[in-house]
Each structure stands twice: as C-alpha cells, then as structure tokens.
C-alpha cells in the first residue's frame, strides 16, 4: 500500500468506493510496516512502537519494558497488565446517567447492566466502553503475543535496533 493511501486510511479519509477497492483486493503483505511507519513518524517517540493496541493506545518498547502508552504520552504500564487498571473510570449505573446518552427506554436497566467508560488520565479520550452487569470483572480485551507476531512476520523486533 502506498504511504499516502495508508495515511488517508488511518485518518478515515478514504471514500467508500476507495475502501471497497482495498477490501476487494488481496491484502498487501507490507501493510503492517507501512502503517507502522506512518504511526511511528506521527508519534515521534524515541522508543520503538511495537504495535497499535487500540485507537490512541500503543505498545512501546521502553528499555527492557514493554508499556502501553496513549498518543498523548500517558503511560499505562506493563503491557502484560490490563491497561484499564491505570485508567480513569466513569460508571453509568443509574437511570439519569444512562439517559444522558440514550432516549427514554432505549438503554439498559441499570440494575441489570451498567456502562463503564474508561478514559485516558492524560487526555481524557474515551478508550473503551464496557456494557456489563454490575459486579462483573473488568475485561482484559487483548493480550498480543508480540514476540510471536514479529516471528510470524519475519521482522526484527525494534527493541534490538534501539539498544
């Protein structure tokens, strides 16, 4: 994929006909590298970015540690730990808080299900929303096997380049 197209893709600037072309064709094997090049340049961090984890969140090689970092710079700590445990949390667990977002009767019964909003403590971007019954454990959505992935891709881990 051309870098220019990758930039537009990341920015959500491609029209549906353009996206359809991309979806219809075979996947470009270099996509990961092209997208990572764009992201790394935009983030401008000295430490190597290993993987985009979610909107705003990246796994970064920081010395011997792999940490989750928001694009605002806030660090959530070790990527083996759930980043949500370092987030700010707002729980919509009563009628009035749910009604702030949804019309009458078009939301859950708060006794049966609450909305948990996880914000970045640095920039207060909304990073994830959980819709779960009260008392349900916080979900650890994604634990990538980064070493395994780079092995798959036949790519050197950026950490070795930086050390």
């Amino acid at each position: 994929m051309e870098r220019r197209i990758a930039e537009d893709l990341i920015d959500g600037q491609l029209s549906w006909p353009q996206l359809k072309e991309i979806i219809f064709h075979s996947k470009d094997p270099d996509r990961f590298q092209v997208v990572m090049d764009v992201l790394r340049e935009r983030l401008g961090w000295q430490e190597p970015v290993l993987l985009p984890l979610a909107e705003h969140l990246y796994v970064v090689q920081k010395g011997t540690e792999r940490v989750v970092r928001c694009d605002c710079g806030y660090e959530f700590g070790d990527c083996q730990e759930n980043w949500k445990t370092k987030a700010r949390v707002f729980v919509r667990n009563d009628e009035s808080l749910l009604r702030e977002l949804y019309p009458l009767m078009m939301h859950s019964d708060p006794e049966w299900m609450e909305l948990r909003e996880f914000y970045c403590p640095g920039c207060f971007a909304l990073l994830e929303v959980e819709a779960v019954p009260p008392g349900y454990p916080v979900l650890f959505d994604f634990q990538p096997d980064i070493d395994g992935f780079y092995e798959w891709m036949g790519l050197p881990l950026p950490s070795s380049a930086s050390e």
């Binding site: 700010r88 939301h107 929303v129 819709a131 009260p134 454990p137 959505d141």
Partner: protein, 738 residues
C-alpha cells in the same frame, strides 16, 4: 437398542466397498493423525492443472448458486422467494461441505451435522440410503438452529457408490409451534417447538411420499408455504445432483472424488493462511449478555424467572496459527426457547468467519476444520438435552457472536487492516410475529416478517457501519418491500417505515442506523401477535475503542387507537415514535402501552390497534467526541441523530436553518461543548482503584440484583475455572458466592 450396530444386510454404498460409517471414522482418524483433511499432503490436482481445478470449483459453485436462484421461484413464501432465506450445499459422503451457494449460509454446517448424524446412526442399513431417496430434518439437537429451518438432503449416486449429498434449507413461515410464527418465545420444552423431523426419509424414487405430505401439511399453520418450500428444496437438490452427474461425466469419477477431498483441504489451508495473514497470536476476550425479564410475563410456571444469559468468549491464537475459541463460563440452559445446541454455534463461527476472513477463498467445511472450539457441555450454548426447547436460539446466539467480531477486530486493527474491522452488528429481531383471521372470509394470515434481516452493521475503524442492511446469518440480507409483506400479513398493513433516530451506536465512526415501523390492524376478526428482541433491558454487546453499544429496543402499542378517525378526517398521523416527545400518545390516543422490555408475549389484538417496532442499529467505534463535527450535522440532517444526542454525546452544536430546512454547524459552540464534556469526564471519573473498591463492595454486601447474582452463581457452578477467576479478580475468599 444400539441403532448404530443394526445391520440388515445391505451392501455398503461407500467408496471402495466401505460403509459410510467406515468412511467417516477413517476421515476423522486421518484428520486426528495428520491435522489435514483425509490426510492429504499434496494438492495434486491443483498443482497438476490449476486451470482445470479452478474451473472445476467454478462449475460446482455455479451449479449451487444457479440451483438456489432457480429453486426459490418454486416457493410462495416471501421469506424464501423474495428475501432469499435459503441455501444449498454439496457434501462429501461423510457430510463435509465441499461448496456452497449464496444465501443463509449459517446452515451449511448444521446440515453437515445432520448428515453425519445419519451416518453415525447407520442409516445406510436402516432405513437404507438409495438413489432417489429424499431425507428431511429440522431437529435442532441433531443438526439445526431451530425447527423453523428445514433441511432436505438428497443422496447422489454414481453407479453403486454414494458420491455425495445435495442439501438445501429454507426458513418456514410457521412450524406449528405452540404459538404461530417462526421464532416463538413461549416454548419451554421440545414439546412446544412444533413439528419435528429427525432425519426422516420422506421420499423414494424422486417422489415425496403422500403420508409425509399429509402429515406435514396438517402439522403447520401455513400448509401452502410448507408444501412449496419443500418442493423448492427438493428441486434445488436435484438440480445440484444433476450438475454433479454432468461434472462426473465430463471430468471422470476419479477426478471428482479426489477433487472433493482436495478442495476441502484447500479450504482448511486458506483459513489457516488468512489467520496468519490478518490476525496475530495472542489472547482475545469479549463478553455479551442477554437479559430476559420473564418473572412476571412468562406463560408457564417453570419459565417465570428473570435471568441473564452469560456469553463470555475467549480466542487464543497460537504461534503455530492454531485458532481456539472457548466459551468457558457460559451460563446454564433452561425452561425457555433460547437454548442452543452445539451445531448452530459451530455454524455461527463458520458464517462469521466466512464474512470476516475467508470471503474470497474456497468456502466449505475446511474453514470449520481449521479451528478448535469449546462450548461447555451442559451450558446454554451446548445444552445436550433434546427435550429442551430450541425454538429461538438466535436470541442468545446472535448477541454472543458479536464477541467474535470484537475479538477479530482487535487483531485486524493491530495488523493495520483497519478497513476490515467490524465491531459488531444489530440484533435481527423485533418485527411482528403471529397470525390473524380475516373478518371477510375467515382466512388465516401468518405474521412472519423477515424485514428483520436489515439491521445496522457495526462501525469499522475507518468508516461508519452499513445502515439498515445487515444480518449476521445471511450475508445477502434484504429488507423486502412493505407491499410484499402486506401480501403475506394481509390483516396488518403498514402505516409507516422510517429511519429510527439515535439507534446507531455512537462513536468516531458510528454504527449503522436502525429503523422503525408502524402497523395497524384492519379487517380482522382478531389476531394473535408477539414481538421479540433480545436487547430490551440489556445492551447487546458493546462498541470498541470507545464506541458505545447501539440503543436497546422498547415496546409500544395503542389499543383502540384513533387512527381511523384521523385518516377519515385527513389529519396527520405519526410516522414513527420519538420516545421523548409523547407524539405517539397525543396523536393516536387509545390505551397506549410503552415499556422498556423488548419481548412481548403473544396477545390478542383487534382492528384499529397500532403496533410499533424498532429494528436495531449497530455499535460504534472510537470516541464520539472525535467524530468530525460536520459528519454529525450530516447525520442530523439525515435523521440519524437528533439535536440532543448530537449535543450530549458528540458535543456537536448546530442551529436550525428553517429556510434551507437543515441543520448548520456552530463550530464555536461545538468546541466549547466538547471541552465541557472532556472537563466533565475529568470531574466525574474515578481512579481505577476507587472504582474497583466500589464494585467489590456491591458484590460483598449482596447489592446485586437477583438476575445478576443468579447469572454469576450459575457460571461459577458450571465452571470452576471461571469461579476462580471471578474470586481472584475481586480478591474474594475461597468459596465465596455472590
């Protein structure tokens, strides 16, 4: 009696003198030993002559699609004829799908399960499998989702050998359950699920037996539709059989046999390659819940219970590309219509992976063989009890599999394939079901609307979800014309269909929007009607990366409305419902019922009663505050969001230009509002530790609602692993019960 061992001395019909059971056992053994379908190492035909191989696949695939497109015209049911709720597939003698048509593909694998059930129960000996036989099945415990989906399976012989099966499925308007309709919600056991056919031979010598026709037409409320649907499936299967005969005549029997083996193995390899190409190793988790408030409303004593279906999903992808899906921790089955057998869960994996990963590959049971799964026995998703009700497993299955989309989307996003992300889909339910009787001539009309197959798709990470146009179980979903449904549901014409504001899940990229309809009863003696959506008091899944779940549904109707007076006076009537406005109540009058539970048990309605329903939107992706403000204003102008939601969720302020009849963005006010919302986030949110303490306190002090406690106890009782994880997360003592 051990049926499988019964032998009445028929000669084997499998390949090279083997029985079908021997072929199936050998196939499974070879797969177990080698990890490859039939132990195939080299794709000799493919590597030997690519063009011939690809042409051969195109011939079979083309025959299947042509069979579907031709056969559907035999049906009279709009569900089949116009919406295309049918599908055909070609199987190996052991029951593995080789190629499939378009259509309701979720059933390709359930038909495979039914065929294998026949092989394992030694149908080869009793009742025998002969050229010209026709078998039919709709038993969910054997290989189906629910009784309303009926499978017809025709053996394909070449000389004295069975070379495969041609099978077709159609979705019935009515299946003779304890209430009219195709997704009944009142059954509590098999004995209320309607007409069951458990892999029965219904025809011989290419002729459907009269005793079966008489019996089946007396077993359902819509015999005409049943009869023509059965002919449609049978004709489609014969078209496929004939195409296979032509194929063998052209290519030779040896080529056909080897080809059908290789192409399944290739399907498996394509899936494995897609996993490596698009995903990444690691552990993925998602969870979905369905709240069922039946304590007050259920018909039968055993069913009167408020409860929550717990659908946890974990996917682990190994460095070797191994794909393992487990639902460890799922809650229990019960006395309700939403239990699910393992087969439909396998079918659901297959149909979603065919849309997310292998849509351009060779689609067959190879994809199914390429992954491992665990649906815990004795839970709602592998109930293992044929006497339970399986009338509407969709109510749990559809929400549960939004977890698969979220899990895969995290991988697709990380790999840079953002255009492939899809964070879920809407619930395909809520249109009216039941039936009525016309006052004029006493004629029965069924209500079995399939406009449910057009709900909102979840957002991707680069664009909004598809509006009102998606069904997870049929990639070719279609809403159907209102006029068409009125031909079927003649006693309840439409007053309106329109976009339902605020049903699209909020996000930087919004989910696809849902829509709503209003219907009025006219010209009836009476009608027994019900409506059902799984997401009434619980959200169906969630969004991803900060996107919100789509709005839930609610129930609204007016008995004895003033609609006819308004029409006769030429006065306007509502074209939908804005819950916050009270317009529906004001304009229609009558005895209005508005409530948040989305399941409405069957009730008798009369002329002038008006019923309203909402078809679901899809969930959103990303923080709604990051949605470009002008796009939100465009949404407002298209009726997707109203002014309040734009302001309070997206932080977008717009003013109304009455001259141009549209909303205009107020950039300054939008900036201020978005800053205000960010400030609110900072003020109202808690550090994680405080949140954790508060939630834990609720558990410890027994402050959870009974359905929540019941769900937690149920899952902890069924899975020690899940119980330990729950206690460890909240640091609760050993043996603690919520």
């Amino acid at each position: 009696m051990d049926v499988a061992k019964r032998d009445v001395g028929r000669a084997p019909i499998g390949w090279d003198g083997k029985t079908l059971l021997e072929m199936l056992e050998e196939s499974e053994r070879l797969f177990q030993e080698t990890g490859r379908y039939q132990g195939i190492d080299q794709l000799e035909l493919k590597e030997g002559d690519h063009f011939r191989y690809e042409r051969a696949f195109a011939k079979l695939r083309g025959a299947l699609v042509a069979a579907r497109e031709t056969a559907l015209h035999i049906s009279a049911s709009p569900i089949v004829r116009n919406i295309g709720e049918l599908c055909f597939a070609l199987y190996t003698p052991e029951g593995d799908s080789v190629a499939v048509s378009t259509g309701i593909m979720v059933h390709v694998h359930t038909m495979s399960e039914a065929l294998k059930w026949m092989v394992r129960n030694n149908y080869e000996q009793d009742p025998g499998i002969r050229s010209g036989d026709i078998f039919t099945s709709n038993d969910p415990d054997v290989g189906n989702v629910h009784t309303a989906d009926v499978h017809t399976m025709v053996p394909i012989f070449w000389e004295d050998e069975l070379v495969g099966w041609a099978s077709g499925v159609t979705h019935q308007v009515d299946i003779g359950a304890n209430t009219p309709g195709h997704d009944p919600i009142t059954p509590t056991s098999r004995f209320e699920d309607g007409f069951h056919l458990t892999c029965e031979r219904i025809g011989e010598d290419e002729h459907i037996r009269q005793d079966h026709r008489l019996r089946s037409q007396r077993a359902v409320r819509s015999p005409l539709y049943w009869d023509l649907d059965e002919k449609c499936r049978t004709a489609g299967a014969y078209l496929i059989r004939d195409a296979v005969h032509r194929f063998i005549a052209e290519e030779g029997i040896d080529y056909y046999k080897r080809f059908t083996r290789e192409v399944v193995e290739e399907g498996r390899r394509i899936f494995m390659a897609r996993v490596r190409e698009r995903l990444l190793p690691g552990r993925y988790r998602a969870v979905t819940f369905v709240g069922i408030p039946f304590k007050e409303e259920a018909w039968q004593p055993r069913a009167r219970k408020d409860f929550i279906c717990h659908a946890p999903m974990e996917i682990v992808i190994g460095r070797d590309g191994d794909f393992f899906l487990t639902m460890e921790g799922a809650s229990a089955p019960g006395f309700h219509a939403f239990n699910c057998a393992e087969g439909p869960m396998q079918g659901a994996i297959w149909v979603l992976l065919s849309q997310m990963l292998v849509y351009d590959g060779k689609l067959n049971d190879g994809s199914y063989l390429a992954l491992r799964h665990y649906f815990p026995p004795g839970t709602w998703c592998n109930a293992l009890d044929p006497q339970l009700s399986y009338s509407t497993p969709w109510a749990f299955l559809i929400p549960a599999f939004t977890g698969l989309t979220r899990c895969l989307s995290r991988a697709l996003f990380a790999r840079g394939y953002r255009e492939e992300v899809v964070c879920g889909y809407g619930f395909t339910g809520d249109a009216i079901q039941g039936g009525g009787t016309l006052a004029l001539n006493g004629e029965y009309w069924p209500a079995a609307n399939f406009e449910i197959s057009a709900v909102g798709l979840g957002a991707s990470a680069v664009h909004d979800g598809l509006d009102w146009g998606y069904a997870m179980w049929n990639p070719e979903s279609d809403q159907g014309d209102a006029e068409l449904w009125e031909l079927l549901e003649i006693g309840i014409p439409y007053l309106a269909r329109r976009v339902k504001a605020n049903t699209a899940g909020y996000g930087k990229y919004r989910g696809g929007s849902g829509w709503e309809a209003l219907r009025v009863l006219v010209g009836n003696r009476d009608a027994e009607l019900y409506m059902a959506r799984a997401d009434g008091i619980t959200f169906m899944g969630s969004g991803i990366f900060g996107g919100y779940p789509q709005a839930t549904s609610y129930r609204l109707w007016s008995r004895g409305s003033e609609i006819m007076d308004r029409v006769s006076k030429g006065q306007p009537y509502p074209l939908g419902d804005e819950p916050d406005s009270g317009e529906f109540e004001e304009m229609l009058g009558g005895d209005v019922m508005r409530r948040s539970t989305a399941m409405m048990m069957p009730q008798i309605f009369h002329d002038k009663d008006v019923l309203h329903y909402v078809l679901s939107g899809g969930p959103g992706c990303g923080d709604p505050l990051e949605r470009p403000a002008q796009r939100v204003v465009d949404d407002m102008n298209e009726g997707i969001f109203n002014e309040r939601i734009a302001r309070d969720v997206f932080g977008v302020v717009a003013s109304r230009d009455e001259g141009q009849d549209k909303w205009i963005l107020d950039e300054e006010a939008t900036d201020a509002r978005r800053q205000e919302i960010r400030r609110l986030r900072a003020e109202r949110s808690l550090p994680y530790e405080e949140f954790w303490q508060q939630e834990r306190q609720r558990i410890e002090q027994g402050q959870l609602a009974e359905p929540v406690r019941g769900m937690l106890r149920e899952s902890m009782g069924l899975s020690e692993a899940w119980a330990q994880e729950f206690r460890a997360f909240w640091k609760l003592p050993e043996g603690f019960q919520p």
